[in-house]
């Protein structure tokens, strides 16, 4: 099976953001993964939104990469007209977990970023409100979704 539509998007992103894209590949039909440095995330996302109609952030997932001592932050963007889901991913070091918020660009990323902030302790620069969302107001037990947070037996 060939993935022409997917390859076209990748080719254009790689050409436009040469040097900023760390890896870009077709995962399967209608699924693309792009990894970039965190300072490029907003530019690439803006381009994806304006050029390919990636209008909605459907999910933001943080992943605790224990061995690399990093967090991966994965934005899943959906393009209704291209019917494509792109995973735009970046990594931030665990000891200074700061990323650039995509909420000014996508209102739909707002709560997803808040969730990653509260459960993993990642700061999102430029986010309008990183207040408590899921955890109790008086919670002071740390960041429960980090791998070093052990569940009670």
């Amino acid at each position: 099976m060939s993935f022409e539509a997917e390859a076209m998007i990748i080719k254009e992103i790689e050409a436009r953001f040469h040097g900023a894209v760390i890896e870009a590949k077709v995962q399967r039909k209608r699924r693309i993964a792009i990894e970039a440095g965190k300072e490029w995330m907003r530019d690439i996302a803006k381009y994806l939104k304006e050029r390919f109609d990636f209008a909605i952030v459907v999910s933001v997932s943080a992943i605790d990469l224990v061995q690399e001592r990093q967090f991966a932050i994965v934005y899943h963007l959906w393009s209704p007209s291209h019917r494509n889901l792109t995973a735009l991913r970046t990594k931030v070091p665990k000891d200074s977990a700061r990323a650039i918020s995509l909420t000014p660009l996508f209102e739909s990323a707002n709560w997803h970023e808040r969730e990653a902030h509260e459960l993993y302790g990642i700061e999102f620069d430029g986010h309008p409100d990183l207040g408590r969302l899921l955890l109790p107001e008086d919670w002071n037990g740390g960041f429960p979704f980090r791998k070093d947070f052990k569940l009670a037996e």
Binding site: S59, H76, S108, W111, L134, L135, F145, L151
Partner: protein, 359 residues
């Protein structure tokens, strides 16, 4: 201007535990701040400590009225990582069960809408009719609420012999009932007075806030995962994706009624075409490294399942992007400037399921 702060919830007449902090001026809401998390169980974290099969009953608990659809999203992600495909018969069975569950979910929504609007007959009837569908699910899976029926590679057991006949009979009955519901409630002047032009969400705002499902289609966006990227056997059945342009609470109600009709038609088609053959392929014993993001159209809208495997028996990360989470975030905006009396109507017109939002 002096405003009063009103706590709407976490105990309130509509489903589940969720709080809105409403700043009100007279009977107008000036600001609405959603406060979710009352039922946050950390299901995604719990999943990191279970193997891939043990997670199936776990994820079903994020939305107990729609558990076929939720587990379908999860098992499809596992299948993507393992590189296996369920046999054709299993794919049709999945469509049948997913659509029956959509009807159940919408009936539950209809019943609770009666609570929101103060129409008490509307609570009793759909709940009673939903029982018939629960009976069908019980007949196949042995369970009435969470089924753990879909497994990576197919489905757990084959359909019992009398299933097809009984389902068709139930659908015939249900179709008549649906007409009654439409006449008595959807076309009811009182019902319309409470919902028409109430809680308008424009097309642009629906996309901006990432609203999902029937609530999105009620604002004129023709986005439905079943059509955008057909999974299971949705490419083998014909159906329409109902869309309404007006974006009010009534439009969202109409969408769900139309969807139930479409579901009836889909189940009939799938039963008619149901191929024979095996219901499951064997699951490989070694889990591959990789990641998958699958989307399914659950009763409340698009449910995304992001699964990352590092080759161990337990996943590295499971992230569930749920429709209620996305829709409740839009409510902060939608409730601004509405009457306090309309808050329950608008809230429920979005079909929020707090368990689903909190995970």
């Amino acid at each position: 201007m002096s405003t009063i702060r009103l706590n709407w919830g976490p105990q309130h007449p509509i489903t589940g535990h969720l709080r809105f902090i409403l700043d009100i001026d007279g009977d107008i809401v000036v600001r609405a701040t959603p406060d979710i998390g009352y039922t946050h169980r950390g299901i995604e974290k719990l999943a990191e400590n279970r193997n891939y099969v043990q997670i199936i009953p776990l994820v079903e608990r994020i939305c107990n009225v729609d558990s076929f659809n939720v587990s379908l999203g999860y098992v499809s992600a596992v299948e993507d990582i393992l590189g296996i495909e369920p046999p054709i018969r299993a794919r049709f069975i999945r469509v049948i069960m997913a659509e029956l569950n959509r009807i159940m979910s919408h009936l539950y929504w209809l019943a609770i809408f009666g609570v929101a609007a103060g129409l008490f007959t509307l609570i009793m009837w759909p709940i009673a009719d939903r029982e018939l569908f629960i009976d069908l699910a019980e007949m196949v899976t042995g369970s009435r609420v969470t089924y753990t029926y879909f497994t990576p590679g197919g489905v757990y057991t084959d359909l019992p012999e009398e299933f097809s006949e009984r389902t068709l009979k139930t659908l015939d009955y249900f179709e008549k009932r649906l007409k009654d519901y439409e006449t008595i409630f959807l076309h009811n002047k009182l019902y319309q007075m409470r919902t028409v032009d109430v809680g308008i969400l424009s097309f642009n705002d629906a996309l901006k806030f990432g609203v999902a499902g029937p609530s999105l289609r009620g604002s004129g966006a023709k986005i439905d995962v079943r059509q955008d990227e057909p999974y299971a056997a949705y490419d083998a059945v014909e159906f329409e994706v109902p869309v309404e342009a007006s974006g009010d609470s009534y439009a969202r109600a109409k969408i769900r009624f139309s969807e139930m009709k479409q579901s009836v038609s889909i189940v009939r088609q799938a039963l008619k075409q149901l191929p024979s053959g095996p219901i499951r392929v064997k699951m490989p014993s070694v889990v591959l490294e990789g990641e998958a993001y699958t989307r399914v159209e659950s009763g409340r809208g698009e449910l995304g399942c992001y699964l990352v495997s590092n080759g161990r028996t337990q996943p590295e990360r499971l992230k569930l992007s749920t429709p209620s989470f996305r829709n409740v975030s839009a409510l902060a905006y939608m409730l601004r400037g509405v009457k306090v009396a309309d808050v329950p109507i608008i809230y429920h017109s979005m079909d929020i399921w707090p368990l689903d939002a909190d995970r």
